[in-house]
């Protein structure tokens, strides 16, 4: 009558869980138990208060041994919660864990229904479907793949640095790939860090040099990941090392070449100082750059344009480190796990024209002001506006490019705190009246609210209201030669015009322009706003949906330095956990090709979201890499010849489950058998 896929006749044990009152209060569990006992193949049917408890699990194990059960069905909560628990329990009793099947009568029944009779009926239907399904279950074996202990970290900001050091200190090999000429990321640009006001460089640069000198870390700056394939435990990565026209191993960073450049004056905007100072075509990003190696900017160097430069730089270099004919080189590495810490970019303030950024010289972005207050910045730490004056009043506008349907909906989380910090630093440097214009003050963090209180006591003005415009149109004499901020003070209920000498725009954080390309390269997902998507926002915050690829820092969403460092540590721990285990078990619910039927039409290949399917040219058949397959079933549904099988979701399993679910099939067990046969 039934195909049982083996010599053993199904002997099913059924267990319905009360889940305290969660299920039993709405489902008549006794009736479900009694009903299931009448179904064919069921040898044992029980109900128990908490199936997931130790006694509950022992009940199953005991029954397997005493009643020689070979199929187990538990009707309780979501498989997400306890499928693993019961599979382990089944396995412990000597039965293949894939002979176990779970029915969710909590989330799908008792929590969503309000009628006891209907709930009980639905529970019976679901239980019957499961009983019918397990007839066709097969024993499956988990596959294990070994983990290569090397780790690739992409992005050398504070997240990448922290993760690299953690893993390297554990004795594992790390490849740190950074796109820019130096590591350090945004943190290297900051002057102080909130709320403790430690100097950012003082706490970051020791870590940067530790990365450079660590024997377990291979640091590749000015490099990008070109290609990655493989799967958890065995990724093959191709890294492109862009030419800096200076041989990294020979350069000692003496900067004689920069001195000798035929440009006597620095002429081109310095990226690190946000264009507030100038650099030459040959330069070092900033004094503590790591590695301390100069690089050429081919866009501005005369020799790259006309080939008629005297090349005084080459003459000046006594180590012959300059090679203007350098080309990109490629490195191929094998790693087991990857951490993406590619960071963020700040919102382009020009996109909010009402604030006049780019129009009025004295409107600054927060990152520019970070450089301005920094002792090694373009003005040596003097807060001087672009027209050479020391401001007597400064307005800081919060939420520029945040909490705005026209730009970004989200709160960038760090702007309130860095605005407070900048307010403090500006007041300290200039003694100016400082105004903060905010929508809500968001200071959640250790010592953050206290910092806000400190700022209020320093006499900084806090005006609650989103600024409508920054204008140079003076209405009264006091506003002449100033930038006037028009805002509603919503706490008092009046519209105010406040003339200031300098405006600071607290720009928000957004995903990098090329985040979606990185996402595709590494085969992970992005959330709506474009930040990398974590597997679970609470319980798997650094995991992605691709095994072995982890995310850390602001590439996952706006966050501050403490959170970034914590996340980097978490990502490092995830990598080390895989490395330490040595191998990883893969769920066997994967798909496989029945080569006999495969026509080689290739329609499954582009559909696979995990790029697990390839084409075997020699035999003209598709091939599924089980290590990459996540068992989503897309290819199974799409295959026109039905030649793809998915473990745990084979046709007879699904059809008999549907049969069992359909009302007509279960009214009377005898009739049902006839119908099914």
């Amino acid at each position: 009558m039934f195909s049982t896929n083996g010599n053993n006749t199904p002997r099913i044990g059924f267990y319905v869980c009360h889940c305290g009152h969660n299920i039993a209060s709405l489902v008549d569990v006794e009736e479900v138990r009694k009903y299931v006992a009448t179904l064919p193949g069921v040898v044992v049917s029980r109900d128990y208060k908490y199936m997931c408890s130790d006694p509950g699990q022992e009940l199953i194990q005991q029954d397997i041994k005493e009643n020689k059960l070979n199929r187990i069905v538990v009707a309780s909560c979501s498989p997400l919660l306890h499928e693993h628990t019961f599979r382990v329990a089944t396995e412990k009793a000597g039965l293949n864990p894939y002979f176990f099947h779970m029915v969710n009568i909590r989330e799908n029944v008792s929590w969503v229904l309000d009628n006891r009779e209907i709930a009980t009926e639905k529970s019976k239907d679901l239980a019957r479907a499961a009983i019918r399904r397990v007839f066709f279950h097969k024993p499956l074996e988990k596959k294990t793949v070994p983990i290569n202990p090397a780790v690739l970290i992409v992005g050398g900001g504070i997240a990448g640095i922290q993760a690299a050091l953690t893993i390297a200190n554990a004795g594992k090999k790390v490849y740190l790939v950074e796109r820019d000429a130096t590591i350090g990321g945004h943190m290297a640009m900051f002057d102080k860090t909130f709320p403790t006001l430690d100097c950012a460089a003082c706490i970051l640069t020791p870590k940067m040099s530790a990365v450079k000198s660590h024997p377990n870390i291979t640091l590749w700056t000015y490099s990008e990941v070109e290609k990655i394939d493989g799967f958890v435990g065995d990724y093959h990565v191709k890294v492109k090392r862009k030419p800096r026209y200076v041989i990294e191993d020979l350069c000692v960073g003496c900067m004689d070449c920069i001195e000798a450049c035929i440009y006597k004056e620095a002429k081109y905007p310095d990226e690190f100082n946000q264009g507030l100072s100038k650099r030459k075509p040959i330069y070092i990003p900033f004094p503590q750059a790591t590695p301390m190696v100069v690089l050429f900017d081919p866009e501005t160097c005369i020799d790259f344009k006309s080939h008629r430069c005297k090349k005084t730089c080459i003459e000046a270099c006594d180590r012959d480190a300059i090679d203007l004919k350098q080309v990109a080189t490629y490195e191929n590495i094998n790693v087991g796990t990857v951490i993406l810490s590619t960071g963020f970019q700040t919102y382009d303030a020009k996109l909010s024209p009402q604030y006049g950024y780019g129009k009025f010289p004295n409107v600054y972005t927060s990152l520019e002001v970070e450089r301005l207050v920094n002792a090694s910045g373009p003005t040596g730490g003097e807060v001087i506006t672009r027209d050479g004056k020391r401001p007597k009043s400064v307005g800081i506008i919060h939420c520029v490019g945040s909490r705005d349907e026209k730009s970004h909906k989200w709160c960038s989380r760090v702007c309130c705190m860095y605005s407070l910090k900048l307010a403090h630093l500006i007041k300290e440097h200039t003694g100016a009246e400082v105004y903060n214009f905010y929508i809500d003050m968001r200071t959640p963090g250790k010592g953050y609210e206290e910092f806000y209180d400190k700022l209020m006591n320093e006499g900084v003005h806090f005006v609650r209201g989103r600024v409508a415009e920054v204008t140079d149109w003076a209405i009264i004499p006091e506003e002449e030669q100033k930038l006037t901020i028009r805002v509603e003070d919503t706490l008092i209920g009046v519209v105010r015009r406040i003339p200031v000498d300098m405006v600071v725009l607290a720009v928000g954080m957004e995903p990098k322009d090329d985040a979606s390309e990185i996402r595709r390269l590494f085969n992970i997902s992005c959330s709506n706003e474009g930040f990398f998507l974590e597997r679970h926002p609470k319980l798997a915050p650094v995991n992605t949906f691709t095994d072995g690829i982890f995310i850390a820092g602001a590439c996952q969403g706006p966050r501050d330095i403490p959170d970034t460092v914590a996340q980097a540590g978490a990502a490092a721990a995830e990598c080390l956990s895989l490395i330490s285990a040595g191998s990883i078990e893969l769920e066997p619910n994967t798909a496989s090709i029945i080569e006999k039927y495969c026509s080689g039409c290739k329609s499954c290949i582009p559909l696979c979201p995990y790029t697990a399917i390839s084409f075997k040219e020699d035999i003209k058949k598709a091939y599924i890499n089980e290590a990459l397959c996540k068992g989503c079933g897309t290819c199974v549904a799409a295959c026109p010849s039905g030649s793809i099988l998915q473990n745990l979701f084979e046709d007879d399993q699904i059809f008999s489950e549907i049969d069992g679910l359909l009302k007509f099939a279960g009214i009377e067990p005898e009739k049902k058998e006839v119908l099914h046969a």
Partner: protein, 215 residues
């Protein structure tokens, strides 16, 4: 800087009802008094008012805030931002019943009632308080009476208050006053201490000491 626009000029002829004068309400920084918050903070030993997070607990706890033109929360923000003339001419400080509910509830420990007292003193010394407002008059008369006689006498105080604010009320409440007088609850006699100059001397000594401290 307030300009009043005569809207009646724009109204259809004869139809003046329902048209109220429209005031320009924008606030220019030059109209604000930047030193005001420091002055108030010193007076009320209330430097804590800088810490106000504008939660509004004070206004919600206040039993009379719904009669005030500015709630206590607003008053604190206006003090901080230098809205001196608005604050001193507001009814808020004079409606404050000194019940201390706001001070009790304030999450930042601001002594709001003390701030209100400070504002009353500022208003009186600056001469910009509502002249016929009962509580302002009562406070002024009470203080003067105690200062000169050393004691408070309710009968004369009431008489003074009614005469200065609303003499009609005196006739209205005369019946009640008579009853109170008959049962000995109200006296028209002015009470005095034996050495009535002592209190004045005591207060002026305290003022002197305080000035020395602040200097």
């Amino acid at each position: 800087m307030d300009t009043t626009i005569d809207v009646k000029a724009f109204a259809p002829s004869g139809a003046t009802n329902g048209y109220r004068d429209i005031h320009r309400k924008i606030k220019y920084e030059s109209e604000l008094n930047k030193g005001f918050k420091n002055r108030v903070a010193e007076l009320s030993h209330g430097e804590k008012l800088y810490s106000c997070i504008q939660c509004g607990t004070c206004s919600a706890a206040c039993p009379v805030s719904h009669y005030m033109d500015y709630t206590p929360r607003k008053i604190i923000q206006m003090v901080r931002e230098g809205f001196k003339s608005e604050v001193l001419s507001s009814s808020t400080v004079w409606l404050c019943a000194s019940c201390y509910a706001c001070t009790q509830e304030c999450p930042k420990g601001i002594k709001i009632t003390d701030v209100m007292y400070a504002l009353k003193r500022e208003a009186i010394s600056g001469g910009i308080y509502p002249k016929r407002f009962p509580s302002a008059v009562l406070a002024g008369s009470f203080f003067k009476q105690v200062l000169s006689f050393g004691r408070n006498s309710e009968g004369p105080l009431l008489l003074k208050m009614y005469m200065k604010t609303n003499p009609l009320m005196l006739f209205k409440n005369m019946k009640l006053g008579f009853k109170l007088w008959k049962t000995g609850r109200l006296s028209l006699k002015t009470e005095k201490t034996c050495k009535k100059g002592d209190l004045k001397k005591l207060l002026s000594d305290i003022d002197k000491q305080r000035e020395e401290v602040t200097l």
